[in-house]
Each structure stands twice: as structure tokens, then as C-alpha cells.
């Protein structure tokens, strides 16, 4: 056996690749890291122990020994009946929380019978929610005081929350018992995901209205999940994801403070949502920097005294945009590596993507495999045996410091623009993200970055993969159901509610209590959003590319 003699043909030849030693944010990585790279690091001040300020090493003392992360897979699909079946199945398979995605019409604040929604009802792996009826059906038989529900809702969050609270109340469960999360992060919609209805400032008013309502009435519920995921999906690199998400987070804090709420009343309920991309250590450094910056700023700048206010609690999803349509099984490996990095980064909950998602919404087989990936990491890999096993790594700590520095540079830029809202209005974030997206694409096309099966190690011919078919008759059925529902309502009450919404929108009153009553009177999502739009107007962005 010729040990020591390497066959040239098997070498990966990384030396000749100019990007091989740069991470996704474009930092040049040194050949080796030593104690010199972290000479300035004061372990007690900058790291602490897990569960101790500034929480660089994680927010819990025992991390996953004490409690595993939440395995949170998507539980939504087309009709509310199907979504209900899927949620029950995921819970049976061992999921401990579910995310409910919305179809595109619901995301855009429109009812299924809106002519602009043709062909999209129940699409994009989301459930169609028109009224309280749909939410009642989705949650049928689910223990609402036990299972945490993550509503992937943003601009429409207030209406979704109203439907949720109204359904719970019907079942005799008061709002204070409900657990879960709303995404409700409107800033990143303008920056990246582009699902908004109103101009940024009235949208921000609505977000704060929800935070306020939840502070008073839903102490176990997270009113917002401040999301970097979509910033990264739109092309933002990890440093942009980190910097913009934190800047958005601090903006929500400032706006909620302006509404007269004490920081320790709401900061403990703020949660975050990150993406893990391909670069393993860059992912982990991103979380560590996020926890440290968040803890220090909330404590020192915003003067929060409650330790829970300092905690950067985060949900993670593996990277949908890293999945390739080519050789789709390779995505299983990508997702596994990403999921492992999220766990080593100390995530509180995790969604693993299915390998066929570059083609369509997941099939039952790929969905199961995605869930099992997390269970294998949790039970078989041994990485959970100790809290923050990578803490103290020269490379990782150095990378964390570097990311932190870059974040503060972005903060300065954003500050100079007049803050996040002004930055959105000036197109700053949109341009930054579009530039990174283009650069990434060019790096792949020029083979500066290798994606296995996509621009190297290619194979001819597409292997067919099992795809989930969408139900072709669903849309028509949904529209008919909605029409029947609308016809049996007391029309006078509907009209009166719409007038009340106009009044609140024109003034500065609170929306949530009114929306919950409106939900019980059968107002639809499209009607409630439409009534606000009458007053707030529609926002159209200038496309930046």
C-alpha cells in the first residue's frame, strides 16, 4: 500500500482556486490561527461562560444537555385540511413545534377570490388563509397551550394573530396561554423579501401595535422574529445578514420604546431568525457575534436590567438558496453540514430543508429525511454532550471578532443615512444585497467558487426526482367556499367594522383588539388589509439592480 504517496488525480487542487481561502463575506482566511490572533480577547469580558453575559458561548448554561433545540419543520400546504393533517403528522414524528407558511395570496394580503391571485391559491408550499374558518381548521385537534406555533406571517401578521386569538378563545383558551411566534418583521420585507402593502412608516406602526398587544396579553408568545434569512436568500452575504438583522432589531427596540413601553417589558420576547449557508465556521462566528453585540447593546445602550432582555434567541433554517437543482441528492449533505453548524452555533430551534426544494415544495420522503437529519445530529453525533464545544478556537474567536468589527462599520453607515427606515427609502440595503447577489453569481460562473455538481463535477442528464403535485381543483373549491362564507355573514356588521378600521388607521389608536372582534364577525384577511390600505395607501418600490 502506498501510504503517503498521493495520487495527483485525487487532489482537489484547491491552491489554484483564488476564492478557495475566502469565506462568503469575502474575508481572506489565514493559513493558520494561533493565540496571537486573539491576543486582545479577554475571555471573561468577551466570551463569558455559556449562559453568562455577553453570551458569546450561548444563552444557556447547559445548552442542549438541558434542553434540545426545537425541531421545527414546515407544517403547511395548500388547504387548511391538508395543513392540519401535515401538522399532526409532524408532531407524531417527533417535531416539537411547527411553522405555518402562507400561500402567496395570503402573503400579499388578498383573499383567494381576488382575480390577481389566479393560479397561486395554495401555492408556494403555503396554506391559504382567508378567514377565521381556515385557522379553525388548521388548528383542529392541536393542543394550543402545549404546541408552539410559528406563523410565518409578516405584513399580514396582525390579521393572522387576530384569527389565532379568536380561534383559541372559541376553544376556551385565553391568549396568555398561547405559545409561538409571528415573524412580523416588516423591515426585511422592504430590504429583501418584498412582500409589503403600505409605506414603511405605517407598516412599522402596525408592527409596534402587535408588540404592544402581546406584551400586555400574550406573555408566552414572541411577537416578532427579526429575520436575516431573507436578507441572505436575496443575496446578502453573512456579514450583511448579521449587520442588517441587528440594525433592524435595534430599530424595533427604538420604535417600541417610543410607544412608551419599558425595554424589559418587550425585549425578552424579541426573537431572531438566521440562515446557515455553506461556510461552516463563518456560520458559527455569525451567531457568536450576534449574541455578543445584542447583549451589550441592549444592556449598555438601552439600559435593560432583566437578563432575559439581553438574550439573542434564534431560530435557524438551512440555506434554501444553497440547494442545487442539479444532482439534488447532494443537497442532503449540504443541509447536514449546515444543520451541524447551526447546532454548534447554539441555535434555539432549527428547520432543515428538504433536498428537492430547488425543484418544488418537498415530497413526503424528502421531508422525512430532513427531519431525521436533525435527529441524527442530536442523538448520534455527540456534539450536544457539552456546551459550546468550539469555544476558544483561535480561528473561530478571531473570525467572531472580525465579524463584530464589520458589523459596527455597517452600523455607522446606516446611522449616517439616518437610520434603517431612511436607508430603506434611499435603497441602501436593496443595493447592497443586489451587489452581493451578482458577485456571488459571477464567482460561480467564473469558477472562483465551486459548487459540486453545478459548476464542477457535473453529470449529464437530469435524473428524475419524485415531486409533489399541487391539487389542480383546490383553487376553485377554495373560492367557492369563501363566497359561501362571505354570504352568510351579517353584512351590516362587516361594513361597520371596516369603518372602524378606517377610523383607527386615520388616528393613532390600537388595531389588535379591533381586529380580533372583526375576525369573530367574519371579516376576511383581504377586507381588513384593504380597509387599512384605503387610509395608508399602497407602496411601490423602485427596483434596484
Amino acid at each position: 500500500m502506498a501510504f503517503g504517496k498521493r495520487s495527483k488525480r485525487q487532489d482537489l487542487d484547491l491552491q489554484s482556486n483564488p476564492m478557495a481561502f475566502k469565506n462568503l463575506s469575502g474575508f481572506v482566511i489565514d493559513p493558520v490561527y494561533t493565540s496571537e490572533n486573539i491576543a486582545q480577547l479577554d475571555a471573561e469580558r468577551d466570551l463569558g461562560r455559556p449562559g453568562e453575559f455577553p453570551f458569546t458561548r450561548g444563552i444557556h448554561q447547559t445548552m442542549y444537555r438541558g434542553r434540545s433545540w426545537t425541531i421545527r419543520q414546515l407544517g403547511s400546504l395548500g388547504s387548511s385540511e391538508e395543513a392540519n393533517i401535515r401538522i399532526r403528522k409532524l408532531l407524531d414524528m417527533g417535531a416539537t413545534g411547527v411553522s405555518i407558511c402562507l400561500d402567496m395570496p395570503t402573503i400579499m394580503g388578498r383573499d383567494s377570490d381576488d382575480p390577481l391571485c389566479e393560479g397561486e391559491v395554495g401555492s408556494s408550499g403555503g396554506v391559504a388563509i382567508d378567514s377565521i374558518t381556515d385557522v379553525r381548521q388548521i388548528l383542529d385537534g392541536i393542543d394550543l397551550d402545549r404546541i408552539s406555533i410559528n406563523w410565518v406571517s409578516n405584513a399580514q401578521s396582525s390579521v393572522i394573530l387576530a384569527f389565532f386569538v379568536a380561534v383559541a378563545e372559541e376553544r376556551g383558551i385565553s391568549a396568555d396561554k398561547l405559545t409561538g411566534t409571528l415573524q412580523n418583521d416588516i423591515l426585511k420585507e422592504y430590504q429583501a423579501q418584498k412582500s409589503f402593502y403600505f409605506p414603511p412608516r405605517p407598516s412599522m406602526r402596525l408592527t409596534v401595535d402587535i408588540i404592544k398587544y402581546c406584551c400586555r396579553n400574550m406573555p408566552r408568545f414572541n411577537p416578532i422574529s427579526i429575520s436575516g434569512y431573507h436578507i441572505a436568500s436575496a443575496g446578502g452575504n453573512p456579514i450583511q445578514e448579521l449587520a442588517f438583522t441587528l440594525a433592524n432589531g435595534f430599530t424595533y427596540v427604538e420604535e417600541t420604546l417610543k410607544a412608551g413601553i419599558d425595554v424589559d417589558q418587550f425585549a425578552p420576547r424579541l426573537s431572531f431568525f438566521f440562515k446557515v449557508h455553506n461556510d461552516f465556521f463563518e456560520n458559527i462566528a455569525k451567531y457568536r457575534a450576534a449574541r455578543r453585540i445584542w447583549a451589550r447593546t441592549i444592556k449598555e445602550q438601552f439600559k435593560a436590567k432583566d437578563e432575559r432582555s439581553w438574550l439573542f434567541r434564534v431560530h435557524t433554517q438551512t440555506s434554501g438558496s444553497s440547494l442545487t437543482a442539479q444532482q439534488p441528492e447532494n443537497n442532503i449533505i449540504r443541509t447536514t453540514l449546515q444543520a451541524l453548524s447551526a447546532v454548534l452555533a447554539g441555535t434555539q430551534s432549527l428547520h432543515t430543508n428538504a433536498f428537492d426544494e430547488a425543484h418544488s415544495i418537498p415530497s413526503p420522503r424528502s421531508e422525512r429525511l430532513a427531519l431525521r437529519t436533525q435527529q441524527i445530529i442530536a442523538h448520534e453525533s455527540g456534539v450536544i454532550n457539552t456546551a459550546d464545544p468550539l469555544g476558544g478556537s483561535y480561528y473561530l474567536e478571531s473570525l467572531t471578532n472580525k465579524m463584530e468589527e464589520e458589523v459596527y462599520q455597517y452600523f455607522e453607515k446606516i446611522e449616517n443615512l439616518g437610520g434603517v427606515l431612511a436607508g430603506i427609502e434611499k435603497g441602501f440595503f436593496q443595493r447592497e444585497i443586489a451587489d452581493s447577489a451578482y458577485r456571488y453569481q459571477k464567482d460561480i460562473e467564473n469558477k472562483r467558487r465551486i459548487i459540486v455538481g453545478l459548476n464542477e463535477y457535473k453529470e449529464d442528464g437530469e435524473e428524475p426526482i419524485e415531486l409533489r403535485e399541487t391539487d389542480p381543483v383546490f383553487e376553485g373549491r377554495k373560492i367557492a367556499e369563501l363566497k359561501a362564507f362571505k354570504n352568510q355573514r351579517e353584512q351590516k356588521r362587516v361594513a361597520a367594522r371596516i369603518e372602524q378600521i378606517h377610523e383607527v388607521a386615520r388616528g393613532d389608536g390600537e388595531f389588535m383588539p379591533l381586529f380580533i372582534e372583526a375576525a369573530k364577525d367574519g371579516l376576511t384577511l383581504g377586507e381588513i388589509i384593504g380597509a387599512m390600505q384605503d387610509v395608508f395607501g399602497e407602496y411601490r418600490e423602485e427596483a434596484i439592480y
Binding site: 402567496m104 390577481l116 389566479e118 418584498k194 443575496g235 427596483a543
Partner: protein, 136 residues
């Protein structure tokens, strides 16, 4: 020779505009004139922009699964306005069996995730030259 003019449009309700913006920039870098419609365009709006701008081709980006509803509508409007010979192409998460069906109704090419932008540039140059030749 006049620059190639392409309308890139994003029909449907979703905001997945990363791909179309990357393609817009790549076509521009390749010397074409690009008009990007922005989000949420109806087929009617797209055809009317194409008429106004006198473009050589229309590219649609669809990642919402609504391609089977949107492409046929667009093709019908184009026919109505006498623009049937306009090159129509698309991109997005569109399964192969749907791609075949769309091509059969006159859509030129459908590019899927992972496409090299140079392939789009080459395709447009090739097709539009062919069209020029057949006219002259």
C-alpha cells in the same frame, strides 16, 4: 446594429427577485438594453410595456408555481396585439414536464435554477439573430 432590447418581467404575487435582477444585470453587462418591470405585473401590463418599449424579447421570472396560469395568458395577449413573433423566454422553478408544455405553446426557452447567465446571453443573441435573418 441597434442594441438588443429585452423586457424582464416579474408576474405573480411573490417577491423572489434575486434571479431576475441578476439576469438583468448580466444582460446589461453584455451590452443589451434591459427594462425591468418590477414586481407583481399582470400579463396585460407586461404586454403593454413590451408594446410601449418596442422590445425584441420578453423574459418572465416565475418561482411561485403559477407558470401554468401566467404564460398562456401572456401568449394570448401577445397574439391579440399582433406580437406573436416576439421572443418569449422564462426562468424559475419550473418542472421539466411543464417546460415542455410551455415550449409547445410557443415559449422559446425556460431557464432553471443554476443556469449560467452567459447561457442566457448566448441564447438571446442566437435567437434574435435568427429572427433578423428570417426577416431580411
Amino acid at each position: 446594429m441597434r442594441k438588443i432590447r429585452i423586457l424582464l418581467a416579474k408576474p405573480g404575487l411573490d417577491g423572489h427577485d434575486r434571479g431576475i435582477k441578476v439576469v438583468a444585470r448580466a444582460l446589461r453587462d453584455a451590452g443589451m438594453e434591459v427594462i425591468y418591470s418590477g414586481l407583481h405585473q399582470t400579463p396585460e401590463q407586461i404586454v403593454s410595456t413590451a408594446l410601449q418599449e418596442g422590445v425584441d424579447g420578453i423574459g418572465l421570472s416565475i418561482l411561485s408555481g403559477a407558470h401554468n396560469a401566467i404564460f398562456p395568458k401572456l401568449m394570448a395577449f401577445l397574439k391579440e396585439k399582433g406580437l406573436s413573433d416576439l421572443l418569449v423566454f422564462g426562468g424559475g422553478t419550473i418542472p421539466s414536464k411543464d417546460r415542455e408544455r410551455l415550449k409547445a405553446m410557443g415559449v422559446g426557452e425556460i431557464f432553471t435554477p443554476g443556469t449560467d447567465t452567459q447561457d442566457v446571453v448566448n441564447y438571446l443573441r442566437g435567437e434574435l439573430e435568427k429572427k433578423q435573418d428570417s426577416k431580411s
